[in-house]
Subunit: 112 residues, 2 copies
């Protein structure tokens, strides 16, 4: 799956889920496959607008921001079955710490 690095989102308002994490697992613990599969599945959800992801591998810190049409779309994604399993794995195995923030994007501007 090829992703443009900067998500092409519609005119605000829309929603952002900012997921900031410190991961403890080694890359061969299934983390990368799970993360890629989650992005693939998220993109199939109704109301998905885009995703951006970056990490400082040396420190195991990453930020993934996904964009959504509304709060219902976020709720549906949170409860999607495979995503629930991945969330469990994340809590138990992959992440030492994380914070998820749900935010309403009120305005944006860009240099394209």
């Amino acid at each position: 799956m090829t992703l443009e690095p900067i998500a092409q989102t519609p005119k605000p308002p829309y929603y952002a889920v900012i997921f900031s994490s410190v991961y403890g697992a080694k890359p061969d613990d299934g983390y990368i496959q799970t993360a890629e599969e989650m992005i693939r599945l998220a993109a199939l959800q109704d109301g998905f607008l885009g995703v951006e992801s970056a990490d400082r591998t040396a420190e195991g810190f990453g930020i993934t921001v996904s964009y959504w049409r509304d709060e219902d779309a976020i709720k549906n994604w949170k409860n999607q079955a495979d995503h629930l399993a991945a969330q469990q794995a994340g809590v138990q195995k992959f992440y030492k710490a994380y914070t998820t923030r749900i935010a309403r994007v009120e305005r944006d501007y860009e240099k394209a």
Copy 2:
């Protein structure tokens, strides 16, 4: 300046500025010094709550999320003199593309 990777933010609501960028400059073009100086200055602003940053160096893609008490704090930071100069340099020199999104964080949860 040492930063914990995940920002310790207060109970919502508060604001997030999501800055997603593709940079074109080489690391010796003053980008890193300017970026570090901006983080140092942002942290001195009234209403600053924290900042998180990650990038995929190979592709020149980065996400920086700064957190703020309210919209006034964001506006003051946007108009701070040294930051204005850095924004100019960013537009002219450092970035091939960027999107800035201003969002109101409505809820958050964490694994600490």
